[in-house]
Each structure stands twice: as structure tokens, then as C-alpha cells.
């Protein structure tokens, strides 16, 4: 296990280095003087001078990278030009909102995707399997911002049951919090549910043909018990690990979902930053996203090895 951890960590460090190069490199894509571009539309000369000094724009590129990386390692992701606050503070502030939305979305994805995958695998090759597979394909093909618009049209405009936009925190009102999150969480969970259904189906198909499941059936155990207790428990291991890989899709989806439902989270932060030419925020959000993805993948790999003694080596 220690060797595995050491090898896995040894892979993470160069990846982090290239992530930092990539994110630093984004700034170099800006046409013209970066300080002018970073200063926003006002291009206040004092701000331009401050930025030139802050980003060491008179230094050669490798030195600028080193100075930038040193700042990032010390927790300095830069400052928002528009809000005049440290980027790290903004990210930390917005994270709980997106976290809550993502948690609900995963809950919805699990409660739709896993049962559908099990049903599909148990009824392999039948109409049920075909219908479930097609439903998953529909889920993967529907743009989530369009699904969001259709849900607003039905539940807010036509039926008047749910608020069309906005966010209310749990501390303010739990019922309003749930009402504002219901549609966005379903929209975000929909695409993940489709991916999870495919993972579950494929894992279950593998497990259902395993000897121990056939033996359980041959011993006369009830089919439901065999499926739920013997097959599903083992099939869920790779499914949950693969769910960590869907984290990227979840964050990408959150950007659009938060935009449609005007939820002040992580996704809306990056979109607003793009429109305000608040490039430090864009870089900060991308960096935090990449870090979270790398850490989650590392944890998923460790979890996978922990539950699979054969892989411990």
C-alpha cells in the first residue's frame, strides 16, 4: 500500500506542475499588454501600474512563472479586479453553494442511475434493458441548460410550483432552500444519472455472470436477494469509484445550471468573471477545480485499492 501511495503521489506532482504551467500560460493568450487586459474595461492607469508591479510584467517569463507559483503556494491566487477581494476568499465563499447543489445532484443521480442500471442488467437483452439504455442515451444527449429551461417553463411559468431562479440558504429557510435547489439539482443529476446507469449496468453484467452469484442462485436463494445482496454490493465498488471521475462533468454542468437558475455558486463566479474580464478569478477558479479533481481522483484510487486486496501489491 505504501509503495502504491508513493507511486501514485509521484505521478501527482508532475501533473500539478503542468496544471500550474497551463493556468499561468492562459494569461499569455491575452492579446497585447496583459496589464491592460487584466485591468478591465476602465483601464485605470493606477490599476495598470499596480498590475504591472504585482505580476512582475517587466520580468522575463520564467521568472514571472516562478513568482506566480510562489504566490499560489502561499495561498495567493490574486485579487478580483471587479470586487477588489482576494480570489481565494471568493472561491471559499461560493464553494458551499455549489457543494450543496452537487450533493443533491449526486443523490438524485444515484437514486435514478443505480436502480436503472440494475434493472437493465438483470433484464439484459429485453425491452426493459433497451428502454433503460435508450433513456440513459437521452439523458446524455439533452443539453442541461435546455432541460433547465424546459423545467422552468413547466414548473415555474405554467404550474407556478417552484421558483424559476435564485437561491435561499438553509439557514434562512429550509423549505425555500429545497424549493430553489429542486430543479437545478435534477438538471445537474440527470446527466450524471445517465453515466451512472451505464457504469452500474456494465459492472452488474460482469458480476451477474460470476461463479459466486451463480452458486447463490443454485443454492435456491431468492433472486432479489441474490441481486441486491450478492451482486449489487460488489458491483457498486467500481461504480462509486467511477463516480469520482464524473466530478468534472458535475462541475462543468454546474457552470451552466447555475447560470440558468441564477445560483450564486462556483459556476456563476467563473462566468461573471469572464464577462467582467476578471482574469485572476478565472485562473483561480480553474486552478481550484483542477486541484479538487486531482485530489478526488487520488482518493478514489486509494479507496479502490483499499476495497480490492488483490490490487494492493
Amino acid at each position: 500500500m505504501t509503495t502504491f501511495l508513493a507511486r501514485r503521489l509521484a505521478l501527482v506532482l508532475p501533473t500539478l506542475f503542468f496544471v500550474s504551467l497551463l493556468i499561468f500560460g492562459l494569461q499569455q493568450l491575452l492579446p497585447g499588454d496583459p496589464a491592460l487586459a487584466l485591468a478591465g474595461e476602465d483601464r485605470d492607469p493606477s490599476v495598470v501600474a499596480y498590475l504591472q508591479q504585482k505580476y512582475h510584467l517587466d520580468e522575463p517569463l520564467p521568472m514571472r512563472y516562478l513568482l506566480w507559483a510562489r504566490g499560489v503556494l502561499a495561498g495567493d491566487l490574486g485579487e478580483s479586479i471587479r470586487i477588489k477581494r482576494p480570489v481565494l476568499d471568493l472561491v471559499v465563499e461560493k464553494l458551499p453553494v455549489t457543494g450543496e447543489l452537487a450533493a443533491f445532484a449526486i443523490l438524485i443521480a444515484l437514486s435514478i442511475g443505480v436502480p436503472m442500471g440494475v434493472l437493465s442488467a438483470v433484464n439484459h437483452g429485453t425491452v426493459v434493458d433497451y428502454a433503460a439504455t435508450m433513456t440513459a442515451l437521452w439523458g446524455l444527449s439533452i443539453p442541461n441548460f435546455w432541460l433547465g429551461i424546459l423545467l422552468i417553463l413547466l414548473f415555474s411559468v405554467t404550474l407556478g410550483l417552484l421558483p424559476a431562479s435564485g437561491f435561499v440558504s438553509r439557514a434562512e429557510s429550509l423549505s425555500h432552500n429545497l424549493a430553489t435547489l429542486a430543479m437545478p439539482a435534477f438538471v445537474l443529476g440527470n446527466a450524471i444519472a445517465a453515466a451512472m446507469m451505464r457504469h452500474t449496468r456494465s459492472a452488474m453484467l460482469g458480476v451477474l455472470s460470476a461463479d459466486y452469484v451463480r452458486t447463490a442462485g443454485a443454492k435456491g436463494l431468492d433472486e432479489t436477494r441474490v441481486v441486491l445482496h450478492h451482486a449489487l454490493r460488489n458491483a457498486l465498488v467500481p461504480v462509486i469509484t467511477l463516480a469520482a471521475l464524473d466530478f468534472g462533468a458535475l462541475l462543468s454542468g454546474a457552470v451552466l445550471t447555475e447560470q440558468v437558475f441564477t445560483i450564486p455558486g462556483f459556476g456563476k463566479l467563473i462566468v461573471d468573471a469572464v464577462f467582467n474580464r476578471d482574469y485572476a478569478v478565472v485562473q483561480g477558479v480553474v486552478l481550484c477545480t483542477a486541484l479538487a479533481y486531482i485530489v478526488l481522483n487520488l482518493l478514489a484510487d486509494i479507496a479502490y485499492v483499499l476495497v480490492n486486496p488483490r490490487l494492493r501489491g
Binding site: L11, P14, T15, L16, F17, F18, V19, L21, L22, L26, Q27, L29, L30, P31, M134, L137, W138, L140, S141, I142, P143, F145, W146, I149, L150, I152, L153, V157, A164, F247, G248, A249, L251, S252, G253, V255, L256, Q259, V260, I270, V271, A273, V274, F275, Y279, V282, Q283, V285, V286, T289, A290, Y293, I294, N297
Partner: protein, 295 residues
């Protein structure tokens, strides 16, 4: 020539005619869902090519006397907030979506395939460095990387296509590398090497044709993802810029008029969904057809 010789010659012809690609094509023909997908894609391609002929109105012409008119015989899909014909804009929007799908995936293939080929074939430090670079790109969620690139490059359709293509590149590099790693110790590669073929020729003439099937499947599925990504970027205002029609930007405007003109939100979304579903159906069908073990 004896009858036996003729029979043998006919058998050879039959075997030669039944190439793996032809077998795959036949298997694809047995999958109705994939064929429906292909038919819908061809329909959209036809619409995109014939847009000037089939579009009833100029897609950017405003008509202040026909603002937010519901679907009727005069405007089959209704009109938008400044009186433009929604059907005409959906028809012209097909061009932006298909173009984004094809160009982005071509960029991703052009960057990712050579990297995967060299990385997988050379191995060693080249492979190590290339794969850590790819890991770094994969660590940033696809759409977030595309948004960041589009933001720094500037918002327009060309930059959106470049951003999507660059963001999709790692998937093709990884896939190509994995295929090369599996293929490079095959007998036909060893034979080509023993004959003194240079590495470049072995990669391009021997390995590449033999690993193209999974890359083709991935490309089909990647077109679907690129179409959604272009629509997403345009929805956020980072893709096709107004007044040029794009399905994503049409939905962005439509969400502000949901109670007054719901039809504005229905048709562009339905168009994205149908086209993306069709590419996914075709991609799934191709995967089954090109890998007989899955069939």
C-alpha cells in the same frame, strides 16, 4: 483453367471483398438505432448545405410588426423578441453547430493523434512528459477549460472551436497512445521493422490504419460533445456572437422570454438534442459494429 481453380479464385475474391470495414458496415446496417442516427445527421447536413434555399426568411432580418409572434403558417416556429423568424434561425444555426462539431474534433485529432502516436511508440521520457501534460489537461473539467480558453482568446465562434478542440485533445492523445502500446509489439509491426522501414513509415502506414477503428468511434462521440460544448459556450455568450444565428445563443435569449414566447426556447433546444442524440446513436452503433465481441 479447371473448375477447382475457378472455385478457389472465387473464394479468394469473396474473402478479399469481405474486408473488416465492409463487415463492420454490414453489422452497422443491422442496427436500426444507428441507422436512424445516421439518417438524422444526413438530414441536418442537407439542411446546413441548403440553408439559403430552404430558409423562408433572412435569419437576421428584424420585423418590428412581428415581434414574439406564436407559431403560425406565416412563421412555422414563431418569431423572436425582435421579429426574426425562428425557423430560419434554427436552419442557419445548423451550420454553426455542425461546423463547430467537425472543426473542433478535427483540431483535437490533429493535435492529439500525433502526440499519442509518438508518445506510445517512443515510450520513455517522451511518453512520461507527454502523459503528465495530458493528465494536467484532463484534470481541468472539459467545459471549464473551454470556457477559460475562450475567455482568454476572446469570444467568437472560431475561438470557441479552437477552445473546444484543444480541450478535447487529451482524450484522443490518451486513446491513440493506448492503441499504439497494444499494437507496437504485434507481428505485423515487428515484420515491418525487420524489413527496415523507418519509424515514421511504420507509424503512419502500418500502425495508424490498424488502430483507426476506436479513434473513429471516439471521434463520432466527440462530435456530439463538441456540439453541446459549442451550444454551451454560445449560451454563455462565448461562442457565436449576435446577430449571427446559433442554437446556444438563441436559447440564451429565449430564457428571458419564457412566459411571453416559450416557442423561442423549444426549437433550438430540440435541434441540439436531436443532432447530439443522433451522433451518440451512430457512435454507439459504430462501436458495436467495429468490435464484433460487443455485438
Amino acid at each position: 483453367m479447371t473448375t477447382d481453380t475457378l472455385e478457389a479464385a472465387r473464394e479468394i475474391t469473396l474473402v478479399r471483398g469481405d474486408s473488416p470495414w465492409r463487415q463492420a458496415w454490414r453489422r452497422l446496417g443491422q442496427r436500426p438505432a444507428a441507422l436512424v442516427g445516421l439518417a438524422v445527421i444526413l438530414f441536418f447536413v442537407g439542411i446546413a448545405l441548403a440553408a439559403p434555399l430552404v430558409s423562408p426568411y433572412d435569419p437576421i432580418a428584424t420585423d418590428w410588426l412581428a415581434v414574439r409572434k406564436a407559431p403560425s403558417l406565416r412563421h412555422l416556429f414563431g418569431t423572436d423578441e425582435i421579429g426574426r423568424d425562428v425557423l430560419s434561425r434554427v436552419i442557419w444555426g445548423t451550420r454553426a453547430s455542425l461546423l463547430a462539431g467537425l472543426v473542433s474534433v478535427s483540431i483535437a485529432l490533429a493535435l492529439g493523434m500525433p502526440l499519442g502516436l509518438v508518445s506510445g511508440y517512443q515510450g520513455g521520457i517522451v511518453d512520461g512528459v507527454a502523459m503528465r501534460m495530458i493528465d494536467a489537461m484532463l484534470a481541468i473539467p472539459f467545459l471549464i477549460l473551454a470556457i477559460a480558453l475562450a475567455a482568454f482568446l476572446g469570444p467568437n465562434l472560431t475561438n470557441a472551436m479552437i477552445a473546444i478542440g484543444v480541450s478535447q485533445m487529451p482524450v484522443f492523445a490518451r486513446l491513440t497512445r493506448a492503441q499504439v502500446l497494444a499494437a507496437k509489439h504485434e507481428d505485423y509491426v515487428e515484420a515491418a521493422r525487420a524489413l527496415g522501414n523507418p519509424d515514421r513509415r511504420i507509424l503512419l502506414r502500418h500502425i495508424l490504419p490498424n488502430i483507426s477503428a476506436p479513434i473513429l468511434v471516439q471521434a463520432t462521440l466527440a462530435i456530439a460533445a463538441a456540439i453541446i460544448a459549442e451550444a454551451s459556450l454560445s449560451f454563455l455568450g462565448l461562442g457565436q456572437q449576435p446577430p449571427a444565428p446559433s442554437w446556444g445563443s438563441m436559447l440564451n435569449t429565449a430564457k428571458n422570454f419564457l412566459s411571453q414566447a416559450p416557442w423561442m426556447a423549444v426549437w433550438p433546444g430540440l435541434a441540439i438534442f436531436s443532432l447530439v442524440l443522433s451522433f451518440n446513436l451512430l457512435g454507439d452503433g459504430l462501436r458495436d459494429a467495429l468490435d464484433p465481441r460487443r455485438g
